[in-house]
């Protein structure tokens, strides 16, 4: 039973079709009919036929994906003019009359026609030719480069990645003018045929990691993929672990820094989030801003982040364990005042904590999902429910409100949203253990957690490094951010040697 449940679903490939066997015919009408047949009667599929010309030709494109003005001026107009001016023009010379700077590719099979046209290329069929031509004229509506919303910072560039790959590559190129920068395209998803770019610096990258990424991306067997999160889950080697083994960022400076350190960045058409791999546990405590501020402040903030991770993971559990099993650990006066607060509270501390945590999770989810205009209503209700009424109604004690709200605030400290999710889920497991076996159970869980973290790998690299395996040299930039002049990054060394 469980075997079947856990078995990964195999995707059947019947949904995708193959046009390999379809050759471009010399009969223009036949080709057009074939295109109509494949793409169907869609309003955005445009087929413009010029049958009355000396050499009849037709043009096929998808409305909205191409630059129509350019199509008009540099393709249709020149071809028409050439035909009128030169009556002796041969069909195969026709295509050379176009005035586009892009590369024109001849295609013989429909296989090479359908995908390009769907990606925004213009296809020209010429009567009497057994090949069609695809001309790249892609332009579509894009959002401007704006400040990232999920990863904000005080000091640092205000640019964020957008949904268009081309813009994103530009943002990276502008930051790293290095000749060894590579963007390697892959197509994933049998239905969606989404473009992803595996980018790296040839001079810096760990070839082992690069080969691993390429292997995983090209072996990907999926139908549809819309966001880098889906890709992350599909090519992750530790699928069941709550800890992310990819770092997703929408900040070009973070991606550029990762590239320069020899990591691989996977970019994705249609989402501003790119994936950085291999990544380490400690890198989720490191924000890009750390390097822009003075090192002492940054080190301090990193320590704060680690503390808040521990708080968001273990504080409610510690509260439960200490108040229900280890009362001797609480200072006497605090114990008396906690006991006073608990007078008349009907539930055990565990249930109390569970109620408050659940209320908070509901509020958080509502806060993210609800339409903006009703946001204030939810926050008012939430503040009253959590802060005042639950205590006044005698459901919970005031101390647990502090514990839960501190936990909630701490969970937002991590610069990477996905990472705090791990602490958020494990918190509940830890609470159950604390309620049944006290601090003993918590210690057991923590040991298990450490073992798990040490066993994780990200693209074959140890996840918990540089702490375990311990690398002395890398401590300069792990838990603390020591002065930059101490840290000779790999990139820096190479440039110094070269010059």
């Amino acid at each position: 039973m469980s075997q079947q449940f856990f078995k990964r679903k195999r995707h059947d490939s019947s949904s995708t079709e193959n046009y390999d066997h379809l050759h471009v015919s010399s009969d223009l009408k036949k080709n057009v009919a074939e295109i109509m047949n494949i793409l169907g009667e869609s309003i955005d599929v445009k087929i413009v036929e010029f049958l009355e010309m000396p050499i009849p030709f037709s043009i096929c494109y998808i409305e909205g994906l191409i630059n129509k003005q350019q199509l008009e001026l540099s393709i249709i107009e020149p071809i028409k003019r050439a035909q009128i001016e030169n009556k002796m023009l041969q069909p195969k010379e026709l295509i050379h009359q176009t005035e586009v700077s892009a590369m024109i590719r001849p295609c013989h099979h429909f296989d090479l026609i359908i995908t390009p046209v769907l990606k925004g290329q213009v296809i020209i069929f010429v009567d009497g030719m057994t090949e069609a031509y695809s001309i790249p004229l892609e332009t579509w509506e894009t959002r401007g480069v704006e400040e990232p919303e999920a990863q904000t910072m005080v000091r640092g560039p205000r640019e964020g990645f957008i949904e268009t790959l081309q813009t994103n590559t530009t943002l990276l190129r502008r930051r790293i003018s290095n000749p060894t920068m590579r963007f390697k395209p892959f197509e994933v998803g049998k239905i969606t045929k989404t473009t992803i770019l595996v980018s790296y610096l040839e001079s810096q990258v760990d070839q082992e990691v690069l080969q691993e990424v390429i292997k995983r991306v090209s072996n990907l067997n999926t139908d549809k993929i819309f966001e880098s999160g889906m890709l992350e889950e599909l090519i992750d080697e530790n699928g069941y672990s709550p800890f992310p083994t990819f770092q997703s960022t929408e900040r070009p400076d973070v991606a550029a820094a990762a590239l320069s350190e020899g990591n691989v960045v996977i970019m994705f058409e249609g989402t501003p989030f790119v994936l950085i791999t291999p990544t380490t546990f400690i890198s989720f405590f490191q924000a890009a801003e750390d390097y822009y501020h003075h090192f002492d402040l940054s080190s301090f903030i990193r320590v704060i982040r680690v503390i808040s991770f521990m708080i968001s993971l273990a504080l409610p559990a510690a509260y439960i364990a200490v108040t229900t099993f280890h009362q001797e650990l609480i200072p006497t006066n605090l114990l008396v005042s906690l006991a006073a607060q608990r007078e008349g509270v009907p539930f055990p501390a565990f249930v109390e904590a569970l109620i408050m945590e659940t209320i908070f999770e509901i509020l958080r989810e509502a806060g993210i999902r609800m339409p903006r205009p009703i946001g204030s209503a939810v926050s008012i209700v939430g503040a009253i429910v959590i802060g005042e009424s639950a205590v006044a109604a005698g459901l919970v004690s005031p101390a647990i409100v502090i514990v839960v709200s501190l936990t909630a605030i701490s969970s937002f400290v991590s610069p990477y949203y996905g990472f705090s999710g791990a602490a958020r889920l494990l918190r509940f497991v830890l609470m159950v253990l604390a309620a049944t076996t006290g601090i003993f159970g918590m210690i057991f869980f923590m040991i298990g957690l450490l073992i798990h973290l040490c066993s994780l790998t990200s693209m074959g690299k140890p996840y918990f490094s540089p702490l375990a395996p311990f690398q002395y040299g890398k401590q300069k930039d792990s838990l603390l951010r020591l002065p930059l002049w101490w840290t000779q990054t790999k990139l820096h060394k190479r440039w110094v040697k070269k010059s």
């Binding site: 469980s2 856990f6 006497t332 008396v336 006073a340 608990r342 008349g344 076996t437």
Partner: protein
Amino acid sequence: MRRWNIVAVIISFSLILSGCAGRVELNELLIVSSIGVDYKKNKTIVHFQVVNPGGTAGGQGGGPSGGSGGSVYTYTVAGETLYDAVEKGRNILPRKLLFSHITSVIIGEKYARTKGIAPLFDFMERNHEVRDNLIMFVAKNSTAKSILSIYTPIFKNPGESLKNRVKLAATSTGISDGIKEKDVVRWRYGEFRDPVIQGVEIVKISDSQSNTSNLENINANNKTFRITGLAVFNKEKMVTWLNNDQTRGWSILNQRVKDIFILSHKCDSQKGNVGFLVKDVDSKTMVHVENGKLKYAVNVKGKAILQELTCAVDVGNPKSLIKMEKRVNEELASHIKSTVKKAQKEKTDVFGFGKILYNKYPDVWKRYKENWKEEFSDVELETNVSIKLETVGARVETIHEQK
């Protein structure tokens, strides 16, 4: 997959089987802040002073039932032994007792004199909740019950008040952190010395002190207790009290002093007093055998700060300062001597002189061991006190010196 199933089974079984054993919610507990022990008709009467959280936190608690009543209550249970009383207490106590936060154990003088302290310690050492750093007291001239029946002002918890009092009283008694349970156990069951326990007495006996209404009376002396000198035990049973000066002598000999206040009455043959705060007191006791007799020598070093001068002494003159130093030295030496004399009279080695002898001359100790109490009462003591006057404070001349 099979591995995961096994792990899941193990985890769920261990969680279910452990089943929250040992779990106690805070509102199922009675926090015991002090324990009192009295003797009555061959029975052990045990008083549990428990904290009433609602009463103590007074309004800051959030529960709808709020809190009311006094900050502490004292339950009294009679039993054969201490633990017997604890067990019998289950019949009258509303909740489970929590012993982890006991600050003090108070023994009635009668109990200490007739029954001795030994019956208390096995339970206190064996129970995992009772701490070994709780402070022990003997209720001087009264019962533990009467000490535990006082509501104290300022501190809502009398146990806490008592604990704090010990620290504050250190300038007069010299014992800065009290006599802990672990000290007493070590002395009582160790080979070399006899235990002492600090005394506590009620300042003034009045009828109204047992209820909270006395807190509304401005006269605070009605409802407080005083830390007194040490109760000396002959291993087992209490034999006598040391007075305040002797208590200081004890604490100097035992290196327990942080700061003590010395008031000298002799002020250069004039009427008046001179007061010093002596700090950084360090003492070292040495023993040597002279003509087959044991001779002990105590060297005391320290610094004095002039606190008060009510007679005309020329403080600016080094000679008079040296005289003052001498006064302090004499004063301290007399404390020490009087303490030792008292202890010798009772034949109780409360200073660990036996231990000093054992450390230096193990062979001699073997000889004296059998009859140490007698030998102890015969040893000679020599005191060398050298306190240096460090500062005369913010003023040089006394106001009496104006010409």
